[in-house]
């Protein structure tokens, strides 16, 4: 990769996304802090600091809920995809809001403690053996630490440096953070005087997050089963599995051996796939080792060129090579091993990406 890293990459869409997010968060906090007290029980007035603490805490919880819903929603309906594109800014903002919530907790409950604030926070309640009165703060601390790690490792650098498998595994901890937040709330705020709105909100969040993941999980399992059936049916008709789409680099080929003297080169180019014989019509040069340019493959031995869609050399040349039919089921490439007559046009398979 030759592109240099920048602190934050913004474009018009991301600026709009962030602006809408900031306005929504500010509006929620304003309504909670300014308008909320008008509806409170006058016999149990809430201090300003506690109100702010709850405003930021509930805001972070709702933001986390939305973040976890974006993925499955985008899989269910492509219209939600724009929400997915800038989700990392959403995550960073959630970590900031959660940190402000924690700061209010420290500042209100432990500010005048003779011991260190953090020591007081960890040692004020150590009844880990009971459910009622459980030190729910521990779950909040765990969730905050996870959110901070995820926010701190959200830059593109981390994806490249850690490698996709480690980075993805690390960021799957968002689910652990959500579980910790739910426990933090259930064993903390929900144990106090009944607040039907907040209780309903927490229950709705859990149902929504689990429900959406369950539905998309089933949908994907069904699609996988459909793909397996389609694959099995094609194999019954004699088609062979040629490999996975990800195995082939862009503008390059994967060579599949059908028999000792028959090899097929499957090329990936411009978001398309095409298959031709691996042997050049000139001197049997290995076409699969050539590179694609403008939809044509150039033989690495003597520079003979062929159009990948029909196996014909560009005019005025007249050489022709065999083409093959392909099918893409999910990300699996299937190949019809029966060579078509040299020069037969086969529509390339479009997979909708140029990677």
């Amino acid at each position: 990769m030759s592109v240099q890293y920048m602190p934050v990459i913004w474009n018009r869409n991301k600026i709009v996304y962030d602006a809408v997010l900031l306005i929504a968060v500010a509006l929620y906090l304003y309504v909670y802090i300014r308008v909320g007290p008008a509806f409170e029980d006058v016999t149990r007035p809430i201090d300003g600091a506690i109100l702010r603490m709850r405003a930021f805490g509930s805001c972070a919880f709702l933001m986390l809920t939305v973040i976890l819903c974006i993925g499955p929603l985008a899989r269910l309906d492509r219209r939600f995809l724009p929400l997915l594109y800038n989700r990392r800014h959403f995550g960073v903002m959630t970590a900031v809001i959660a940190a402000v919530h924690a700061n209010y907790v420290l500042g209100w409950y432990f500010n005048f403690s003779p011991t260190d604030q953090y020591v007081a926070l960890l040692s004020s309640n150590t009844n880990y053996g009971q459910i009622l009165g459980f030190p729910f703060e521990a779950f909040g601390i765990a969730a905050l630490l996870i959110l901070l790690v995820l926010a701190a490792t959200s830059h593109d650098f981390w994806l490249s440096f850690l490698g996709a498998p480690i980075w993805k595994a690390l960021h799957m901890f968002i689910y652990a953070a959500y579980a910790c937040v739910v426990l933090h709330v259930a064993l903390g705020a929900l144990q106090g005087p009944g607040d039907p709105i907040f209780t309903a909100l927490v229950a709705a969040s859990v149902v929504l997050v689990s429900g959406l993941h369950f539905v998309t999980g089933r949908m994907e399992a069904k699609r996988d089963r459909g793909e397996q059936t389609a694959q099995a049916s094609l194999q019954e008709q004699g088609w062979v599995i040629a490999g996975d789409l990800d195995e082939i680099d862009d503008t390059c080929a994967k060579v599949v051996t059908l028999s000792d003297d028959e090899r097929v080169a499957i090329f990936k180019y411009d978001g398309k796939l095409s298959a031709i014989t691996n042997a050049c019509a000139h001197q049997n040069g290995p076409l699969g080792e050539g590179k694609v340019l403008w939809g044509c493959i150039t033989c690495p031995w003597h520079g003979y060129q062929y159009n990948l869609a029909d196996g014909r050399a560009p005019a005025p040349f007249t050489e022709k090579i065999s083409t093959y039919r392909l099918k893409l089921v999910g990300s699996t490439i299937l190949l019809d091993p029966n060579a078509l007559p040299p020069g037969t046009h086969v529509n390339p398979i479009e997979f909708g990406g140029d990677s």
Partner: protein, 73 residues
């Protein structure tokens, strides 16, 4: 109280060690293992919190990338 104090102390030393790793990595390692960061300095302070939090993983990846190059990605 004592357990809490020990935990906080451990956390403090962990973050201090992370600070040392951050300085070393951003001064020496990053240019060696991450070609896209060469000549790019403004984004580096953004990496400090992440390095402090997951410095053992940073050290592991740094060593892996030094030993195996791009194959480790």
């Amino acid at each position: 109280m004592q357990t809490a104090s020990i935990l906080i102390e451990i956390g403090r030393y962990y973050l201090m060690a992370g600070g040392v790793v951050a300085v070393l990595f951003l001064a020496i390692g990053i240019d060696r293992v991450e070609p896209s960061s060469r000549g790019s300095y403004v984004f580096r302070p953004l990496l400090v919190p992440g390095i402090c939090l997951i410095w053992p993983l940073v050290l592991y990846r740094w060593i892996r990338l030094e030993k195996h190059g791009e194959d480790a990605r």
